[in-house]
């Protein structure tokens, strides 16, 4: 390019085109992904899709949008979609409980207030941890790294674009093959899992690979950093599970899938949640001095910038504090309006404990996402609902209002960090992204409420638009409804949470930072995911050893980014296909 083709006007960052496109694509993707989550039971990250849309529409010949402008568009869209994902796993539970007469009628407004409060809290509580996660620990955030590769693909040279395209094509083709069912082979490939037992290994070893390019690519991006996650899964499924069987701790009548389900649901998963909680508390305690040091350097830099008349790069602490107080007021209003005959002090206590728990849960989810791209959001929501029910004397609607807030907030925390990682990699100032997430994520909550209400009413005058035995089974909401019924019967595995929490604190306190979170996450997830991820880590380490670090960064990163984008693209296409009646 010659100098005559250079642009003389100010650099394009936050433009009305980026703002409008981010909001519109965020709303459309939110609607599609809510429908998809009610049908399939899982959410899909929208960052990569929004970045691709921005790449086509903003960076097209006519507008000449910039990398940073597209980063802001993608940040807005992802914030809206993520806020909606938090609602779709919790709000439908209330409709299901109402339809089976567990609860009476309820007003949507306090729940909406809780959702909006959660969206605000998720952003304000995680912002102070940006320096620790992105600048000091340098967590990978695989999707964030993949999105940065898309954003920079125009400037990064044709070789990287080609690698990105190859990865994308392979990821999309593989996902399509899985969806088509052509790969299904009873006993060998079922439910997107390849069995490695070959009829020889016992079922409780759970030897299977999850055939997801996204999961494998996340391991490729993490490399050696992901090994504790892999070893945590190995310890859980190849040491603890066999021990439980051979020590005769389990009902001998349990066998095959039932045995695996029992080990997972009654022991490893609740223990994993406990380890995650303990590890998060210890991580906060251990890293406090280094966060303080980093914040001091920020304060000094802000002071110097102001003295020189320059702009600050971080959102104002006063705005964060105001957001925190405002969000807590919304949570208080939600609990107060929905809890019947509960003393005021208990509502205040629930608001304070809920906010504190939300900070811990946000840290857990953001750190887990940063290390592995996998979010333990449903486990955090489960603990939130149980905690609030205990504090509010078994009030289901009030507990679910808090559950909505916390589910939205933890999702928002993880998304915020993903987007800030992307922003860091493309050189965006964090302030713009933080301000946009802070001011616009509530849109996702409102849209999600409207869509879920409309879908429920679509089932007829008595509702019933989703739930078991309908075309939208809402599996996550059904599972949460079962959990609430278990809490009402006092069947929460408190022993596993507490003992796991104590062990998690020591694990996180070892010199291998992040070990507790990784091991907790490995116990929380099905082993097939951990194995596939671990395979990606080992492949990266092998390739780096043979071809060198520069090759691993220059070739593996764009290929892995492509694999992640390819699977996400097909996931969104599937959501739209289902919306069209497919």
């Amino acid at each position: 390019m010659h100098s005559s083709e250079e642009w003389q006007q100010p650099y394009r960052e936050l433009t009305w085109q980026a703002l409008a496109l981010g909001i519109v694509s965020g709303i459309l993707l939110n609607v599609a992904l809510i429908y998809s989550a009610l049908k399939l039971g899982f959410a899909i990250s929208a960052s990569a899709i929004a970045a691709l849309i921005g790449f086509v529409l903003l960076r097209g010949r006519s507008w000449r949008g910039t990398v940073i402008e597209n980063n802001l568009n993608q940040t807005i869209a992802a914030a809206i979609v993520t806020a909606g994902s938090g609602v779709v796993f919790t709000l439908p539970t209330l409709f299901l409980l109402q339809s089976n007469k567990t609860i009476g009628s309820f007003s949507p407004w306090p729940l909406l207030a809780a959702g909006v409060g959660g969206a605000l809290l998720g952003v304000v509580l995680i912002i102070p941890l940006r320096r620790k996660m992105i600048e000091i620990d340098r967590l990978r955030f695989p999707t964030g790294t993949a999105v940065a590769t898309i954003l920079r693909s125009g400037a990064a040279g044709s070789e990287k674009v080609t690698l990105l395209a190859y990865g994308c094509a392979i990821g999309a083709a593989w996902k399509l093959l899985l969806l088509s069912g052509w790969l299904n082979w009873p006993g060998v490939i079922e439910n997107d899992e390849l069995s490695l037992s070959f009829g020889l290994l016992p079922s409780y070893l759970s030897a299977a690979l999850y055939l997801s390019p996204l999961t494998f690519a996340s391991g490729l991006l993490a490399g050696r950093g992901g090994l504790p996650f892999f070893f945590g899964g190995v310890a859980a499924w190849w040491i603890i599970a066999p021990w439980m069987v051979h020590a005769s701790w389990l009902n001998p009548q349990l066998a095959n899938a039932e045995l695996v389900e029992f080990i997972y649901n009654k022991s490893l998963r609740p223990l994993g949640i406990g380890v995650l909680i303990g590890a998060a508390i210890m991580a906060m305690l251990l890293t406090l001095p280094i966060i303080v040091a980093a914040l001091r350097s920020v304060a000094q830099a802000v002071g110097e910038s102001r003295a020189q008349g320059a702009k600050s790069n971080e959102i104002s602490p006063w705005l964060l504090l105001s957001g925190l107080l405002g969000a807590m007021l919304l949570l208080f209003f939600a609990s107060w309006s929905t809890a019947v005959d509960v003393p005021l002090w208990r509502i205040l206590l629930a608001t304070l404990v809920g906010t504190l728990w939300l900070g811990i849960a946000g840290l857990i989810v953001a750190q887990a996402t940063g290390m592995t791209d996998i979010s333990p959001m449903s486990g955090m929501t489960l603990v939130s609902v149980a905690l609030t029910m205990a504090l509010l004397g078994g009030e289901v609607v009030a507990a679910l209002a808090m559950g909505i807030a916390i589910s939205v907030a933890v999702g928002q925390s993880a998304d915020m960090m993903q987007d800030l990682k992307t922003g860091f990699l493309v050189g965006n100032r964090p302030l713009q992204q933080q301000a946009l997430e802070f001011s616009l994520s509530w849109i996702g909550v409102v849209v999600a409420f409207a869509v879920i209400y409309a879908l429920w009413q679509g089932g007829g005058s008595a509702g019933g638009g989703f739930g078991p035995n309908s075309s939208l089974p809402a599996p996550q909401a059904s599972a949460l409804a079962e959990v609430i019924e278990a809490v009402q019967k006092q069947q929460i595995p408190l022993d596993k949470f507490i003992l796991g929490g104590v062990a998690g604190m020591v694990l996180e306190g070892t010199p291998v930072g992040g070990l507790g979170i990784m091991v907790g996450l490995a116990m929380y997830l099905p082993f097939s995911i951990t194995l596939t991820y671990g395979l990606g880590c080992l492949a990266q380490m092998r390739i780096e050893k043979i071809r060198g670090y520069a090759y691993a960064e220059g070739v593996l990163v764009p290929v892995a980014a492509g694999l992640i984008i390819g699977e996400a693209l097909i996931g969104v296409a599937e959501a739209f296909w289902h919306m069209g009646g497919g």
Partner: protein
């Protein structure tokens, strides 16, 4: 047994035992598994061994696993990479006015892959002798330099010369600040 291995291995084995004891399903109408004492004892042993582990000099792999970055090449490589990064950015800044943006972008990509990535890769060895406060400041300043260099790469790719030159100046200032922090800590 090698003293360096005893504490980490002992900690991890004790924690595995604790998790194993905690995993036992509850008997009918019990609130705790009958192995809870074993679990807490194992956690206590693990805690004690962990203190020993933390007190001994840490091999670089421990930190590299947590941070997903490797630091095997030592402080010499990092210090040299930082010096080269500053020199290369200084030269680019001096020559930028006479260069086309594609050439500037090419230079920035070279600086990023040749000097900045190895510097980040081995940054733990540079901050090994620092206290927590110095380390926090050092890593924050280094990250700020990287952010400005990333911005310069983006703006150069977008064909905005003024913004690119400003970002190069900012990146240079940050890396010089990192070098000064390093000198002050030694």
């Amino acid at each position: 047994m090698n003293k360096q291995i005893f504490a980490p291995l002992g900690t991890l084995l004790a924690l595995l035992l604790a998790l194993l004891a905690a995993a036992k399903p509850l008997a009918e109408s019990a609130q705790w598994p009958d192995t809870w004492q074993l679990c807490l004892l194992a956690v206590l042993v693990a805690g004690g061994l962990n203190l020993l582990w933390r007190a001994q000099p840490q091999p670089l792999w421990a930190e590299s696993i947590s941070g997903a970055e490797e630091s095997a090449a030592g402080a010499t490589v990092s210090a040299e990479a930082l010096r080269e990064c500053i020199d290369a950015l200084q030269q680019l800044h001096n020559a930028a006015a006479a260069m086309g943006l594609p050439a500037i972008l090419h230079e920035l990509e070279e600086i990023h892959s040749q000097w900045l990535l190895p510097l980040i890769h081995t940054r733990s060895s540079l901050s090994a002798g620092m206290n927590r406060l110095q380390r926090g400041r050092f890593l924050a300043e280094l990250a700020a330099g990287e952010l400005w260099l990333n911005r310069a790469r983006s703006t150069a790719g977008d064909c905005y010369r003024v913004e690119t030159q400003q970002a190069i100046i900012q990146a240079l200032a940050q890396f010089i600040s990192v070098q000064q922090l390093l000198a002050a800590s030694r």
